[in-house]
């Protein structure tokens, strides 16, 4: 798998991304100790003073002195940030002010007690989340932590000292800290300090010493903290080795599978799994087999969720696999994931059911290569779960009543049939009833129906009739068999139904996901994606949804959603973490805000407001939600890149045209320029020249200048239309006006040619950009003038029919060139004859087509019988605005 000496590329990438993430991030230094009173806060303040003397801008965020004088004295000399005061149960608490710190932006900030839980109303649930935000903002942080506040050690310490601390910090956070300083105090000295009252105030000291500060506890805690720190150092060394590919024996890749049931006692398995995984440097997965035949109570579902969350906090993947047969499912999964070791919990079985093999035995015999680690789970760890009868799903009183009624009905029917059929057929009828009842109303109803059927059979049909006594003992056998068959078939039917329900739910989710994926992949505009979110995704989770996208300045805009809070969405977007209802950040919001993370960057935020109560917490539904978010993010990214590609294509086209332009322009611009310069220099030289000649030369210069002007205008227009698309300034115009304006400026070009205009008086208004359209007419007329003899006639006609306006510019000259394809005349730089004496780059018609197309119309060239050329422009007529009519004077 891995060649010796070369580091695993995945690991290198991880290390690299970690490093780059580190830049711009503040540095975290944790002052770590075995327990309260070793002097962590004191050491932290000392270190801060040293930094302060070196010139670093230090601020105190929040420091708990617990009334200890020595610590309190160290507070002097360092600027303190004001704390927030929060009302909590009739007295106010001081809380760390995160926003104030972010605004003040000191270089280094001191925040005590990393595991502290923030009061309700704070942005984050925990103080370590606040510290995370400070670090992301580039502020260095010093903080303190006790060993029992680490997530993975929480239960171990709890067992040692008999008290479990509730406030914990995830191990990942601890491991990612830049520096951890161990503040160590030998237990004897600690007890000394306690006696002298240096730790707690005297009254509470006695209590503390007897409960917690026992020497045995302190020794154990000290050892734990030393060992945990050694683990950290070891990890650093390993990381260093990996990074520098130091030749070593690489540990074989282990993968751990921790198998849990939906009980809180299995929490221990997960924590042990975390420790094992760390010491083995292995990946680990927490697996739960979802057996369909067991309906889960609310308590079980909650336990499962808590276990899933714990697993994720400790860095494992959580998998919930549905299926029957725990051992078979586990073995399959282990094989699929290439697991090397399995961690199982086992209890001492009070009743040793001899034929029930233990799960561990099953697995061991099926796959001997798989390593098994068995951890003992004691019952005493968790309080017994109280399951209320009402909580059991599926046991509805109405279904029991209905099943009894069904049996009654069957009895009646059987009584009727008895005249025709034998008694054995009555048994079959009852069996049929039991199967149907179990199929319709579940296990409990089926079982009840079985019992009632047997009783009914006995009472109504077995002689002596109408009594529970039995005359013939063989009927006892019938009863027993009937009961057994009825129960078995009933349970099977119920199980079938449960599996069908579960499969349907799974299919529903899969279908929904497929539908969402299909709709999103078809979306080519952001509006369509928004529509899919609101109409398809939100109803799946019984919520109202809205897609919130960032604008140019990277701020989330909330115009799409009326119920959404833009500030919470902004936070979720910036920190790429869910926020709002049901999360640990800004829980007071009315909706949940999920960031949409695409491979390149975060594309926006999805806001979901549940119709009633809270958003779903079922792990399968959450997975569906995550999948939907990923799909939305991908779709947004795709749409973004479609736009980018489109823009790029436009630009490439513009580039191409510009290059062609530059080539042609240099020739056609230089020609008139050469003429002008030459003629001007001729004028300059004095000599025998008549007045007439002078005038001729001057006129020629003027003419060349006009040509140049025409060329430059066309060039500029064409370039403008190609480069930034066409921005038409459309207004309702009279075609005659535009034509008149065009003709007014063309007197000299048209010369003595006859111009006949036929525009009907009631021609409707057309929505045009007048300046651009004038250019079209000018170019067409110019063309006509250039390619016709001086005595030719030029017609300009316009007819409106239905909803199209037809405009014709035709002449009776020599007509279109026959050797060139008519359509290609409209390509830029194409002219009838390649190097013709007639000046002009061949841009006029290309510009005409560009402008006409931009107006949504078409332009064609054709021969005009009997001779000449005809250009036809078709424009769509819209609905011109109304003009109020009035009467004549």
């Amino acid at each position: 798998m891995m060649s010796e000496g070369r580091p695993n590329p995945d690991r290198l990438l991880e290390a690299l991304t970690d490093e780059t993430k580190q830049q711009g991030r503040g540095r975290l230094k944790i002052f770590f100790g075995a327990c309260a009173g070793v002097g962590k806060t004191y050491a932290m303040l000392q270190a801060a003073h040293q930094q302060h003397e070196e010139g670093v801008a230090v601020s105190i965020g929040l420091v708990e002195t617990h009334g200890r004088d020595e610590t309190h004295r160290l507070l002097d000399g360092l600027p303190q940030l004001p704390t927030r005061s929060v009302q909590y149960h009739a007295h106010s608490q001081r809380e760390f002010d995160l926003d104030g710190a972010l605004v003040a932006q000191p270089s280094l900030i001191l925040v005590d007690d990393l595991a502290h839980t923030n009061a309700t109303g704070s942005r984050h649930g925990k103080r370590w989340q606040d510290v995370e935000e400070l670090l992301s903002a580039g502020i260095d942080v010093y903080t303190t932590l006790n060993v029992q506040q680490l997530e993975s050690l929480n239960d171990v310490v709890g067992r040692i000292i008999g008290v479990r601390v509730q406030e914990t910090v995830p191990d990942q956070f601890f491991d990612r800290a830049n520096d951890v300083v161990l503040v160590d105090l030998p237990p004897d000295e600690l007890l000394e300090r306690l006696k002298l009252g240096k730790i707690y105030l005297a009254a509470a000291a006695q209590q503390a010493s007897s409960n917690f500060f026992r020497k045995g506890n302190l020794v154990a805690l000290r050892e734990l903290s030393l060992r945990r720190l050694a683990d950290r150092v070891d990890m650093d060394v390993r990381a260093y080795r990996i990074h520098h590919a130091i030749r070593d024996v690489w540990p074989t890749r282990e993968r751990l599978l921790v198998c849990v049931r939906a009980e809180m006692s299995h929490e221990r398995l997960i924590r042990e799994g975390a420790r094992l995984a760390q010491s083995l440097q292995a990946d680990w997965v927490v697996v739960h087999v979802d057996e369909l035949r067991r309906s889960r109570s609310t308590a079980e579902r909650e336990a499962l969720l808590k276990l899933a969350k714990l697993a994720e906090n400790l860095g494992a993947e959580f998998a919930n696999i549905p299926g029957e047969g725990v051992s078979d499912m586990l073995l399959d999964y282990a094989r699929a994931r290439n697991a090397t070791k399995l961690v199982l919990g086992h209890r001492r079985n009070h009743w040793n059911i001899p034929w029930r093999k233990r799960l561990a035995d099953h697995i061991a015999s099926a796959n001997p290569d798989l390593g098994l680690i068995l951890l003992h789970l004691s019952h005493a760890e968790t309080p017994p779960e109280k399951t209320h009868a009402a909580e059991q799903p599926g046991v509805k009183v109405s279904s029991l009543v209905l099943s009894i009624l069904a049996c009654g009905l069957t009895t009646v029917v059987a009584a009727l049939l008895l005249r025709v059929f034998d008694l054995s057929n009555v048994v079959m009828l009852f069996l049929l009833t039991v199967v149907l009842v179990a199929l319709r109303w579940g296990k409990a109803a089926g079982a009840l129906a079985a019992l009632v059927s047997v009783a009914s059979f006995d009472f109504f049909f077995v002689p002596p009739v109408l009594s529970f006594a039995v005359s013939d003992t063989q009927y006892l056998f019938t009863f027993v068999l009937m009961l057994v068959v009825a129960l078995v078939t009933g349970q099977l039917a119920a199980r079938l139904r449960a599996e069908a329900v579960s499969a349907t739910a799974g299919e529903r989710r899969a279908t929904a996901l497929a539908r969402v994926a299909r709709d999103l992949s078809a979306a080519i505009a952001t509006e369509q994606i928004m529509a899919v979110c609101e109409e398809m995704i939100a109803p799946l989770f019984a919520s109202r949804g809205a897609l919130m996208l960032p604008d140019i300045a990277d701020r989330i805009s909330g115009e799409a959603a009326d119920f959404a809070d833009t500030s919470v969405a902004q936070w979720a977007y910036e920190h790429v973490q869910p926020a709002g209802l049901g999360t640990s950040t800004l829980t007071a919001a009315s909706a949940q805000y999920l960031p949409l993370k695409a491979p390149m960057r975060t594309r926006g935020v999805l806001a979901l407001r549940p119709e009633r109560g809270a958003l779903t917490t079922d792990p399968d539904d959450r997975r569906l939600l995550d999948a939907c978010c990923a799909l939305i993010a991908l779709a947004l990214e795709r749409v973004h890149f479609v736009e980018v590609a489109h823009d790029t294509l436009l630009r490439i086209e513009g580039e191409r045209l510009r290059n062609a332009l530059l080539g042609a322009v240099s020739h056609d611009l230089k020609t008139p320029l050469t003429a002008i310069r030459g003629l001007a220099e001729t004028l300059e030289t004095t000599g025998a020249r008549s007045m007439h000649e002078h005038v001729e030369i001057a006129r020629a210069i003027g003419h060349q200048a006009e040509e140049l002007h025409r060329l430059v205008t066309n060039l500029l227009d064409l370039a403008r239309m190609q480069s930034n698309g066409v921005r038409l300034y459309r207004q309702w115009h009279h075609l005659g006006e535009i034509l008149g304006s065009a003709l007014a400026g063309m007197g000299s070009t048209l010369g003595s040619r006859r111009i006949l205009t036929e525009l009907s008086a009631d021609l409707p208004l057309v929505e045009l950009d007048a300046t651009l359209f004038e250019r079209v007419l000018v170019n067409l007329l110019d063309n006509a003038a250039k390619y016709t003899p001086p005595q030719a006639t030029i017609w300009v006609r316009a007819i409106a029919s239905a909803n199209t306006m037809y405009l014709y510019v035709e002449d009776d000259g020599s007509g279109l060139p026959t050797d060139v394809d008519v359509d290609s005349l409209f390509e830029p730089f194409t002219r009838g004859a390649k190097e013709s004496p007639i000046a002009g780059v061949g841009l006029g018609l290309a510009l005409c087509r560009s402008i006409v197309t931009a107006h949504g119309g078409t332009i064609r060239a054709m021969q005009r019988p009997p001779q000449g050329a005809r250009f036809e422009i078709c424009l769509l007529l819209g609905a011109p605005p109304e003009i109020e009519s009035e009467d004549l004077l």
Partner: protein, 235 residues
């Protein structure tokens, strides 16, 4: 009559030169200013009868200069502008300019416009009140009696068409923007409906011009406004 005094405010020396030569050949006195600052000073000190202003001056906005001039002078203002900047032209007219020339322009155009503006000015200054009878081409308009004849034959106009014509006449050959016409003839509620002006102008052209497609008097200045050319007071 004494020599006409023209002021040119244009930063390009060669353009100034050919304008000056052309106008001086017509017997006018020409003063040159190379910047807006200079133009302000010269306008005040030389008291010209017509000012030619380039809209693209380096040290200031042509519009501002026009507005300042309009504060104390009624001399006609001719603007020189580049082709694409319609909005610039419209703004200049709203600020008080009278006519314009698009660069590059030729000498005949220049002379025609200068002469037209000077004549217009003289019509206004030699009369106290507005004259009531005006003619252009074969059209005769009596503003007091609402009588309009075309080569002697009476023409019937609707009230609005008449108001439009009267507004153009009042403008005396100036370029009047769509906005100004809408305000004048229809009122402030119609300011964003330029199609009204266009349709009514088309009607006027139909009724008054020989060839509506190539009007001689009711001139269209595309995207800017309209002008009545060839106006004369009846003697």
């Amino acid at each position: 009559m004494s020599k006409r005094r023209i002021l040119i405010v244009e930063d390009e020396a060669d353009i100034r030169r050919f304008i000056r030569l052309a106008l001086e050949r017509e017997g006018m006195t020409v003063f040159e200013a190379g910047s807006a600052e200079q133009g302000r000073i010269d306008a005040a000190s030389r008291q010209p009868q017509l000012v030619i202003v380039d809209l693209g001056l380096p040290d200031g906005d042509g519009k501002t200069l026009i507005r300042e001039l309009r504060n104390w002078s009624t001399a006609p203002i001719l603007v020189l502008s580049a082709r694409e900047h319609e909005q610039e032209k419209v703004d200049a007219f709203d600020a008080g300019a009278d006519d314009y020339l698009v660069k590059p322009f030729g000498v005949p155009e220049l002379l025609a416009r200068v002469r037209a503006q000077l004549r217009r000015a003289s019509i206004v200054t030699t009369e106290g009140a507005n004259p009531s009878v005006m003619t252009f081409g074969a059209i005769r308009v009596d503003l007091a009696t609402y009588e309009i004849t075309r080569a002697g034959i009476p023409v019937h106009l609707t009230p609005i068409e008449f108001r439009l014509l009267a507004a153009l006449i009042r403008g005396h050959g100036k370029v009047i923007t769509h906005r100004q016409l809408l305000l004048d003839v229809w009122g402030p509620g119609y300011i964003d409906r330029p199609h009204y002006v266009r349709v009514y102008m088309a009607n006027l052209r139909q009724k008054l011009e020989d060839d509506p497609a190539r009007p001689q008097h009711l001139i269209t200045e595309l995207q800017v406004g309209y002008r009545l050319a060839g106006l004369n007071r009846e003697t």
